[in-house]
Symmetry: C2
Subunit: 460 residues, 2 copies
């Protein structure tokens, strides 16, 4: 799935000739960008139109990079998310029906029905789901994002993140921590018990702590964490530690009644390195949403996977999804597992890459590259490659290993189609059976077709 | 003060000839290592002796890199540090008398007398100090280390750090935070008030929190923080955040009586990015002390500055100091200040470099190099240069930017004398007048003479 991309000549013949004239060793490949020659040709032949697209993209990028995300509250999902009511569940990725749902997605959906007590047994839950009595909607269509299966049900507590610059909001669940968790499809009593503890104890306490001050500046924490080895997708250790340090005083005050609860919440924050992931995802979603609906813009506003399909949305096409089969993940497996155990790629967490973090900021996180089996320089190479398909260098998200260059942000479907370079995600690998959980981590290059299809749709 | 060292031929002529034969462009310099040709010659001509030194150094390095430092308690200095009694103060660096003490050192010593109520006014304090009625001892001679002026008085709370591998202990004060602080020579009521709060409130609470569990694994936190942009001298942000996250639960339980105190302690930890520095210093001191007293070993066990002199100790020479004038610091100044305002280099914090951190781990901390006016690659260059004067790559302290190579540790006086490369520290710059505080930060190359003198003394 991974190409170690090297400088090969894939453009006009003139380019290869130019390199040859400079004694540069070139490799000529019989290759054309996968599709969209029509759209590219139409764009390049119509200067006014091309100019209009560039202008729309500039406007979009100004919006995206000027976002400031603030965590302002924790609330029950049903009180904040319109349309999330009894009989409705949200899930990660593009639209999905039960019949095509993968193992971990099915496990998580069943778990949500048990948690909401809409079913008493897994069999009852499965029947309700299979018979179409439960509506399934993508998180993204309700302003939300969720890691892995990304299932959100009405009673779950969600973090409320505001984009101060544009006034829009985004939501995500609280991270469940490690071990057996709903997001990997586990749904036994231990999993449901932890979800109820998040709902009854941790969620309200965290919410009160956040509301004591003026909220938490997530954009600021993300910028700092990029200086501290996080890329905010697979590694959120620095961000979680900075957040905990910042909130500890307020948290200790709001939990004044129960020493046990206070201790348990601090323990949860201390043990859950990935706690900040859900906040980072909501911050990215909040930053990208104001870009939707810019006529003509070819900038990607969401990438997401539901375990069956990978899909994107663009600024110019708004709510419409462009999809392809979810890719497999190239990576390292935990002992006892291998590629045949792996579910196709899963989760809304690719919103981090869409906003210039995760795989796009891999140069900031050498430990992640090592964890997935690569060298430190491989991380820098991937980030540097992503500059070729993005429109801006983020003014706030800076990468120390690249001499504090801004991270590559704003995926342009034109650039993807022109270069044939697909975005790279770094991600966890889920077992294809529900509830087994994470079995590895790696790098995935997403399919290029949705970007080409979106471009064809934008440039008709 | 800084040389951008490049590969120049400074060794035997054969070396230059060998490079020339390989078409390597060489620069031949009329230069000899500054001193110690006698000691080096004696060593190189006596194979048995050279072998014995190598063996001693190997034994020493095994001790240093196998240290495991654990923070186990906070206690009053006088109950833990033998000889620290009424009329005695500890200070940073090699031995010092009042007459030669610099401005910030004098301010801190006066402040300590006021804090201990051995004097009622600064004038009384100065009289007691100038007339020799107060004994001044280096921290290092009492198992302690202190940043900048490094003054420790009997009533101050100190952290107790144990080297689990060898059973020895080291001590340091609690960091006072930013602003007007004793370690920069400030001594007004606000400064003394904060010191009393550390003694009465924060110290006991932190101590109880530490003692609730099995203490805090400082070596583990240091190893993690190196992956997160800290070099543990000028930057301790990640380490402080990791520590706070780990201690928050216990801390919130031991401060159960007073919401205000609890909140104030968490606020202190949240605001004091440099809180971990004093713990890192004590951890390094605890790691290096078991190396003292190895006959013949040329490994440096301490580097320290008192604001007037720079001094070192080696394993083979034990408690003896080898000194030279304290160097100036090359760096960036805060607005309104310049080199003429700067005190010569100050503090025991160079114990971090002695243990493979700080300037030696500069490759890990791009933000520090940027802060002191250098590029990211400059940090890597400095770390790479330090491998030339050290004997080991630390098995636990790994540097992501160098593909997780262990940090350079174990400064060898032979290597310093042979190469002419002096150790590099990254450090804060103190104003030369007491109490003004930090006026900049930079890089300092320490004088080479103490290393040469130590070698001459070791190889007679």
């Amino acid at each position: 799935m991974i190409d170690h991309l090297k400088p090969v000549v894939v453009g006009p013949d003139e380019l290869g000739a130019a390199l040859a004239a400079q004694s540069v060793e070139e490799v000529t490949v019989d290759w054309r960008p996968p599709g969209a020659p029509g759209a590219l040709k139409r764009l390049y032949e119509d200067a006014d139109r091309y100019e209009a697209v560039q202008q729309a993209n500039e406007d979009v990028m100004r919006r995206i990079v000027s976002a400031r995300a603030r965590w302002t509250a924790v609330r029950a999902a049903q009180t904040e998310i319109p349309g999330l009511e009894r009989g409705v569940l949200l899930h990660a990725g593009p639209p999905l029906d039960w019949a095509s749902a993968s193992g971990p997605m099915r496990g998580a959906l069943i778990g949500a029905l048990l948690y909401e007590e809409w079913a008493e047994t897994a069999e009852q839950a499965e029947h309700l789901l299979a018979s179409g009595q439960i509506e399934l909607h993508p998180c993204h269509e309700h302003g939300a994002v969720g890691p892995m299966a990304g299932v959100v049900s009405p009673s779950m507590p969600v973090v409320v993140v505001e984009n101060e610059r544009y006034g829009n909001r985004a939501f995500s669940t609280l991270n469940e921590g490690l071990g057996k968790v709903l997001r990997y499809g586990a749904n036994d009593p231990e999993v449901l018990g932890r979800l109820r503890w998040l709902q009854d104890v941790a969620g309200p306490a965290l919410g009160q702590a956040v509301e004591r001050g003026e909220g938490i500046d997530l954009t600021g924490i993300i910028a700092q964490a990029l200086q501290m080895g996080d890329e905010l997708h697979n590694r959120n250790k620095a961000a979680t530690a900075l957040l905990t340090r910042q909130m500890a005083g307020a948290l200790s005050l709001v939990c004044d009644d129960s020493r046990d609860e206070r201790s348990k919440i601090f323990h949860y924050l201390a043990e859950t390195d990935v706690f900040f992931l859900n906040l980072a995802m909501a911050a990215c979603k909040a930053a990208l949403d104001p870009a939707a609906g810019f006529t003509g813009s070819t900038v990607v506003t969401a990438m997401a996977r539901n375990g069956t399909e990978f899909g994107i949305r663009t600024a110019g096409t708004g709510d419409r999804w462009f999809t392809a089969a979810a890719p497999g993940v190239e990576g390292l497996y935990f002992p006892g597992f291998g590629p045949h155990d792996a579910n196709p790629d899963l989760g809304d967490s690719a919103i981090t890459e869409t906003a210039g973090l995760g795989g796009f900021a891999l140069a900031a996180a050498p430990a992640i590259v090592q964890f997935v089996g690569g060298s430190v320089s491989r991380g820098r190479e991937i980030t540097e490659e992503m500059y070729q398909i993005t429109l801006a260098e983020h003014p706030v998200f800076q990468l120390p290993a690249l001499d504090f260059r801004g991270s590559p942000v704003g995926i342009d479907c034109i650039a993807v189609a022109r270069t044939g370079i697909a975005p790279v995600l770094d991600t966890g690998i889920a077992h294809k059976r529900a509830g087994i959980g994470q079995i590895g981590a790696g790098i995935v290059r997403v399919p290029i077709e949705p970007f080409v299809d979106a471009l064809e749709s934008l440039v008709v």
